[in-house]
Amino acid sequence: MSDCKEEPRAPRSTWISQVKTPADAGAIGATVTANIDGQDVKVPMGTTILEAAVKLGIRIPTLCNHADLCVAGVCRVCVVDVEGQRTLQVACAYPIAQPIKVRTHTAKVRNARRHVIDLILSDHYGECYCCARNNNCELQSLAKEYGVDFYRFGHPDKAKYEVDRSSYAVLRDMNKCVLCRRCVRTCIDLQEVGVLEVAHRSHKSKVETFMDKPLGEVICINCGQCINRCPTGALRANDPTYEVWAAIDDPTKHVVIQTAPSPRSAIGECFGLPPGTPMTYQMNTALRYCGFDKVFDTNFTADLTILEEGTELLLRLKKALVDGDKSVKLPQFTSCSPGWVKYIEHFHPDMLDHLSTAKSPQQMFGTLIKTYYAKLNNIDPANIVSVAVMPCSAKKFECNRPEMTSSGYKDVDFGLTCRETAQMISEAGIHLPDIPKSDFDDPFGTATGSGVIFGATGGVMESALRTVIELVTGKKVEQFYDHADIVPIRGFDGVRYAEIQIPDVGPVPDLLKRYFNDWNWLKGATVKVGVCHGTANAKRVLENIRAGGKFAECHFIEFMACPGGCLGGGGQPIPTSPEIRKARANAIYSEDSAYKVRKSHDNPAIWDIYNKFLTDGPCGHISHKLLHTHYTARGKYIIVV
């Protein structure tokens, strides 16, 4: 069933039924028998017909239903015949409260479903073979399942709406919209951002932004969660593959690509592999085959982020605890999720000082490629085209922020989603699972398990703690947590909280000696941390902080805009569901445990760069210039001139 939060913001017409499953499942009347197509199944009271059918292995087609969202019951594809009811009932929204008999494919039902599909097609402009979702479209599959071989009620030959290309992240083609409202439920209810809503009535109904403004001009945070839940090609990411190919084909350009940890655990899905099949090293080979000159591992800058963000945290703590500086803002918030950053810029602009100034790993890498790497290899940065494979749609916006030019150039030229990368790979004629593996390119080659787990919710926090604990105590994390797995902050609970004791302190490592003489002020301290994913949960944490709750006492909080963290990002393969995200997370954590080096500060390439390039250390002048950024208080009221 849906994991609606306690107070859904979407209209109640879209809520799941209110028939509550009795707490005591053994109580009399707590279960009820449904008979579906002649088969009996015992289910808890309030189970929907759809859920009961799934238990029996009976397929009932759906369109507006989604595992992550509240029930809508609007598309009417899942209608079934319930004995004693005059009309057909929707399986997704019909709670079983008494013994019932259901038939799922009577003539009436088949006829109705076919009509519904025919009607949707009569209003769905576009041809399947020129659509980003060709072969991965729920409407297309339904049409096939119901044997549609002609347009019974016609097919539009003209577009009704202009395609909205205003956003760097999300492209909206409302001509392909089937009004299932999954995007609306995603935006209002799952993410609690509230950019999309249905406007107008009847056949004029349309999913719109406020005043129908272009998406690029409203408070969209670019998380792309709506894309992942769109059943058709109405929503997609803004695709730069054309430009990337052009750069590859241009012999004067040196085209490099960095790959984030999450896409590698998911890209296999685009090639028919089950979720959670790691494709890291096959992807390297494939990208080189596509024509990228170098393939780098974003995990390197994930490790760097940990050093920068971790040092920033220790500095904030010292200022607050030792120097008594009241202006220091704690808890410190992570800043690697660009959807989250835009969220706080819009919704809580007065709290921006809590955000770590460290850039995200993607942007740190972009800067280093056009400075450090360019110098090292004697390449004119003007000729470098820097591409990033990200699980994310917001990264497309992030790399276009005007402040992201500290290298003197656009630090990252293009952000590709996992889906677009798969597209390029298949265009190059490669079936990813079949090709040999190869490693990342130097000088950033080696990465750590800490960088990898950035892809899962809680991963940034776990990496940071591994490093901070060792730098401060001088002891191995393994002495505190088996196998260095900081399990208390793992998992998929929307909001998590943990306390880490620092019983003893060790000597200050050389790297940090310029800031700290000793750690005595941390002896016996309890570090309080929080983790949350999905902006709806972020909102709860921020509200808790404002109210002076438990999270106001935290020192460090990880925020991720997307449910599940990056592995559930808006650039990941479609579809998504809790199970799929769990499988991707498993892939990420098993990759982490396979690494020899699992802590960011143990990465030799990191020491190398601090010795050779960022010579005044983490949070030093050079790093501040290149690896840190600032934010914009945007607010909720967008004035368009």
Binding site: P11, R12, S13, W15, S17, Q18, V19, V71, G73, V74, C75, R76, V77, V79, T87, L88, V90, A93, Y94, P95, A97, K108, N111, A112, H115, V116, L119, I120, S122, D123, R152, F153, V178, L179, E197, V198, H200, R201, S202, H203, K204, S205
Partner: protein, 401 residues
Amino acid sequence: MNSSIKNALTFSTVEPSGGLRAAMDKGRAEIIAEVRASGIRGRGGAGFPTSVKWNLAAAAKSDRKFVVCNADEGEPGTFKDRVILSEYAGLVFDGMTIAAYAIGATTGILYLRAEYTYLREHLEKVLAERRAKGLLGQGVCGKDDFELDIQIRMGAGAYICGEETALIESMEGQRGEPRNRPPFPVDTGFTGRPTAVNNVETLAWVACIFARGADWFKSVGTGKSAGLKLFSVSGDCKAPGVYEFPMGITVASLLEAVGGQDAKAVQIGGASGYCVPAGEFTRTIAYEDIATGGSIIVIGRERDMLKVAENFMEFFADESCGQCTPCRLGNGKLLEGIHLLQQGRCSMQYLRELCSLGETMQLASKCGLGQSSPNALLSIVKHFQSEIMGRIPAAAAAARE
């Protein structure tokens, strides 16, 4: 007296607050039993037994319950609630108060159609008088355990907001769109709490039932359709207006009373109702035969039935809330079909397809709007096929002349 009232209405003979006082002498269960004994069913169109609705709402457990008077009167050709509200508001509020007491509600809300904004001042005045008289507030009619206030909420002009769950969404400040049912409003209504939604006329009759007794009401009408009913009569007849007739009246006698004997057809139940041809005027207006919320549109001999169908379909193609596929797109397809018929370009096969689509809409739409919007067209196709088929396209007709 309101000039649109055409015959003597029982409402004018019942003393306001008389029924209320009689009801207040009874216990909660007794009130519902009396309503059951009267046999009254909802006058808003669906005809759901009022006592069953109240019983469910009374049995539901909650910290707060609501009674809602549905005064959205949006069905084309219906205007009897307007007359009741302007002439007999006291009876409506009596009915609401009785309902509130029976189910244990502490708040009553009258949802008033936007077009009836001019009635608001009058209704507020009646409410103020009732508060002054102790018919509202703490200890209604001297009953210490009964507190009630009644507020007025304004609609904004959408037909769909007359549907009870859309009405509730609208009152909550949401888009007026019907909810999934179950759960029903009696269980999960306004702000998620048990809510009894009743039509204006239903509530006024309840007040009369307590003033006159359930037996009186039950003795009128048919076995399954007890009591009297108000009708909004319009169209091609001599004396359009509001009439009171017993349930079970035949179409023919109704037409005789309104001066519409030579009608070609009658649309019963408004745009969402059925088009009854002259050959079926012996049928009765009752829940067991032709059910209606009270709208009677008389269609004269010279009317073009396709124009009639077009008029109704245009209404629905505009008023569908747009939520569910069959209604959002189906109404438009049916309307297109009517245009094809008008141009003589609709094949028999496509007409059959459209009728089948109409049946799907009746079966698979989310709410009563989509479930009933094809009724008019389907009954016109059934009864007037020869009239609507074989039209000559306008251009061809012009060429021929």
